[in-house]
């Protein structure tokens, strides 16, 4: 036992002294930081995009302008909400003397007012007077040392048609003339800075004749009979979606008016909305509403499955590698003149388990730390995620499944390492193993959609997949008997695998030359020698 302990200590010390180990430890917090800042980075690095509208009959121009402005206001509201939530002085009470000057305000209420960007909230924000009024409203509630609020950049800016292009020349001619700009060969200007023309919207003068109505003959319209959206960037569809919706809203409004309805009434009707609330029957009565945290709880296990898979295989590969190292330079002979194969195997499993546990505990600490510290722009998500991670029982499940999964795969890898002389041989033997191992990663995204379905339940009972699939299902409260049953089966599988791997290891570790054939492996297993 002392020898196994010494072997374990050596394995641990050797592995925590490698760069790979520290990189691995830094990985999770790094990924989280990247995840949280990627969106912001993407937004701040995307330049304002210029587009032109050619609409000689002036049918949709105003509607498009309004839609783009609305898009911008939404960004402003979002940025403002984040700014306010970060810098608000919480729990502040306005002195009674000032109550007359400023209406009594509750910071939490104000926070809530700006915490959502749904259409109704946006409507309220814009109607109340937009940013200027909102700023005034929160004036006394922001920490004195807070930096001033910076408005987000406009995502899309409508620019004038380049000089020399006749908007009335017809869609085909205008499109032809705009080609050099759309291809980036010529630049337009935003605030005096040259920039590419991102898109061009060309509305044919006779578009009113091509509106499709019920009862008409269905046919595919010619480009000349449609509003044309020209853009070289096919991936960024925000502007196209927005413009398409604005045009259609405008058209329907016009149709209502044409049928004799009151324009103001139509406007009002278009702004109505029916709230739809998501509820979960599993939650306590009165609190069934699905929150952000609930959605995160549904999906957080996917992240854990990925971490589980990565950590188990990263760590089990260490076992494979150092077994082959000891075998290929015959260190194992010296070792076996000092310790039994069983002690050696147990010590290695223990030492590398300690490496793995250190790594995942560091990950968890890093994750919780990052989320706790990140009260910034994504504060809401960070806080909810932290809540989910620490209170949902996912963490103990993760640690438990890591240990069992590691013992299962670790002993398999040790046995594999013991019969190979070089890393290359091991890689050849690993290929079929990899094919089997990749399955939980493939099913990882499907299982949360039907966590107690047939696929999930069947896979849960296959011990090599149990840790991953059960982790995957953890948030969906699988039946307790399934949790107990699969865990018992997994424990039994771990015990059997350890025992068989021990037999292969004891024989294989001293063998040189060709890796054994399957028949030989079978003999080792049966004879135990």
């Amino acid at each position: 036992m002392r020898n196994a302990w010494l072997v374990a200590c050596r394995e641990f010390a050797e592995n925590v002294h490698t760069k790979g180990f520290w990189l691995g430890i830094a990985m999770v917090p790094l990924l989280l930081v990247l995840g949280f800042s990627a969106q912001r980075l993407l937004e701040s690095s995307t330049p304002s995009r210029a587009f032109v509208v050619v609409d000689p009959a002036d049918v949709y121009g105003d509607a498009i302008d309004a839609a783009v402005e609305r898009l911008h206001q939404r960004e402003v509201l979002k940025a403002f909400g984040e700014y306010f939530s970060r810098h608000a002085v919480r729990g502040k009470t306005v002195p009674a003397a000032d109550l007359e000057a400023t209406p009594a305000v509750d910071v939490e209420k104000v926070l809530q007012e700006f915490s959502d960007t749904n259409p109704a909230a946006l409507e309220a924000f814009v109607n109340a007077g937009g940013l200027a009024v909102a700023m005034a409203k929160v004036n006394g509630l922001i920490a004195p040392d807070a930096p001033p609020f910076v408005q987000p950049r406009k995502l899309f800016v409508r620019v004038d048609l380049p000089a020399g292009i006749d908007p009335e020349a017809g869609p085909a001619a205008v499109a032809d003339a705009l080609r050099p700009w759309l291809r980036g060969e010529q630049k337009v200007e935003i605030d005096g800075r040259p920039t590419d023309l991102f898109a061009a919207v060309i509305v044919p003068e006779d578009i009113a004749d091509h509106v499709s109505r019920p009862g008409g003959v269905p046919r595919v319209p010619e480009p000349g009979e449609s509003v044309q959206y020209w853009a070289a960037n096919l991936a960024d569809t925000d502007l196209r979606t927005e413009i398409e919706r604005a045009i259609n809203d405008q058209q329907r409004r016009a149709e209502y008016v044409a049928k004799g309805m009151d324009a103001a009434a139509v406007q009002a009707v278009q702004r109505t909305s029916v709230p739809v609330v998501k509820l979960d029957p599993r939650k306590a009565s009165g609190r069934e509403q699905v929150s952000l945290a609930d959605q995160l709880r549904q999906w957080a296990p996917v992240g854990f499955v990925y971490l589980l898979w990565t950590s188990i295989f990263a760590v089990a590969s260490l076992l494979l590698n150092n077994t082959i190292e000891e075998k290929s330079n015959r260190l194992v002979e010296v070792l076996l003149s000092s310790v039994t194969p069983g002690e050696l195997m147990f010590g290695k499993l223990l030492g590398i388990a300690a490496v793995g546990l250190t790594m995942i505990l560091a990950w968890i600490a890093g994750m919780v730390g990052m989320l706790w510290w990140n009260a910034g722009p994504q504060a809401e998500q960070a806080r909810s995620l932290l809540d989910v991670v620490t209170r949902s029982g996912l963490l103990p499940a993760f640690v438990g499944y890591f240990i069992l999964g590691y013992l299962l795969y670790g002993s398999l890898f040790l046995a594999l390492g013991s019969v190979c002389n070089t890393l290359k041989e091991a890689q050849n033997m690993m290929q079929p193993v990899m094919l089997v191992m990749i399955v939980p990663l493939l099913t990882m995204m499907f299982i949360p959609k039907d966590p107690n379905g047939t696929l999930a339940r069947v896979m849960s009972w296959i011990p090599i997949y149990t840790p991953f699939v059960m982790m995957n299902r953890a948030a969906a409260s699988p039946p307790p008997w399934e949790i107990v049953g699969t865990t018992l089966l997994l424990l039994a599988a771990v015990a059997v695998t350890l025992c068989l791997a021990g037999r292969i290891f004891a024989t294989g570790i001293l063998r040189t030359g060709q890796p054994p054939r399957l028949v030989e492996l079978w003999q080792w297993l049966v004879r135990g020698a």
């Binding site: 290929s328 330079n329 260190l331 002979e333 010296v334 070792l335 000092s338 001293l510 020698a529």
Partner: protein, 311 residues
């Protein structure tokens, strides 16, 4: 039998087969306590297999091993030191750590093991490399580190498999000194080699293994006696009349002016020299060098191979 006179290692009818191939046939020997015992033999003779069986790394197909009075080396592994034939170290470990690690696996307390590691490295000229990683050491230095690792725990019985291979003459001498030191401390040493000069200088007893069989087991002097003593004389005349002298068992012309005189065990080389002067045999050269282990080796191994070929 008292503890001190009991042999350290007894092999009795040891045999090892790998499938259809038999690497070791019926090897029996006994290593006395405190002796330096050589395992000699050509490459592939079965030396390493025999050593692995002695250490219970391999289970013999037949026969019995007794090490330090026990039926298996595993029972007394803390009292044994072993240097395997193929040398290797953990590349990322420091020299002092690796010695301390192997010593602690043999039951030494960690602090004592570490102290001992540093002492040994200092003593055998590797003090400045103590904290170097093994991947930064030269092959010879690495090998020395490994030898030190095998003796750090003060074993009473040390088995060194090909300890000299790959060392330069200076380091071979360091290793010979080390073996002498161990012997002075009373350690029993078995080492295998195919370089006869080392065996000649170091061994009290030796076994010669060829094709998996022990073809000779005894002291170095006994080994020499297995081939007749001989004198090579160089003379321009026919030394035929030496033939009738007492103690002379044969006279062979080797070509040119060289003639070989073979002597019986009690034959006296000085008497031959005197006879040459007396009988007026003019001598150009008189070479009375003893047969070397190399001669013994070539003769015994050659005979074994010849026998094998006939069979």
């Amino acid at each position: 039998m008292s503890q001190s006179s009991q042999p350290v290692l007894v092999l009795d009818g040891l045999k090892k087969s790998f499938g259809a191939f038999t690497a070791v046939h019926d090897v029996s020997l006994s290593v006395p306590r405190g002796s330096v015992y050589g395992f000699l033999g050509p490459n592939g003779a079965g030396k390493t297999t025999t050593i692995r069986m002695a250490l219970s790394i391999y289970q013999p197909t037949a026969g019995r091993v007794t090490v330090l009075g026990q039926p298996s080396a595993l029972l007394v592994r803390d009292r044994i030191g072993y240097l395997p034939e193929e040398k290797g170290l953990y590349k990322k470990m420091r020299a002092c750590d690796i010695i301390a690690y192997f010593a602690s696996l043999k039951g030494m307390p960690s602090a004592a093991a570490r102290k001992r590691a540093l002492e040994l490295l200092d003593k055998y000229g590797l003090g400045e490399f103590a904290t170097r990683k093994c991947e930064a050491l030269s092959k010879g230095m690495g090998q020395k580190v490994q030898v030190l690792a095998s003796i750090a725990h003060h074993p009473e019985f040390v088995i060194l498999d090909e300890p000299f291979s790959g060392l330069d003459p200076v380091n071979q001498q360091v290793l010979e000194d080390l073996i002498e030191d161990l012997k002075r401390e009373g350690t029993t040493i078995v080492f295998s080699t195919h370089i006869m000069e080392h065996a000649e200088r170091l061994c009290d007893r030796l076994v010669l293994i060829a094709r998996g069989r022990a073809v000779f087991d005894g002291t170095v002097a006994e080994a020499r006696r297995t081939i007749p003593r001989r004198i090579v004389i160089r003379t321009p005349v026919d030394p035929g009349r030496l033939r009738g002298m007492p103690g002379v068992t044969g006279l062979t012309a080797l070509g040119g002016d060289r003639h070989e005189v073979t002597l019986a065990d009690d034959g006296d080389a000085d008497a031959i020299l005197a006879a040459c002067f007396r009988d007026g045999i003019p001598l150009v050269g008189f070479d009375r060098s003893e047969p070397t282990l190399r001669d013994v080796f070539l003769r015994l191994v050659g005979a074994e191979q010849a026998a094998e070929e006939v069979a």
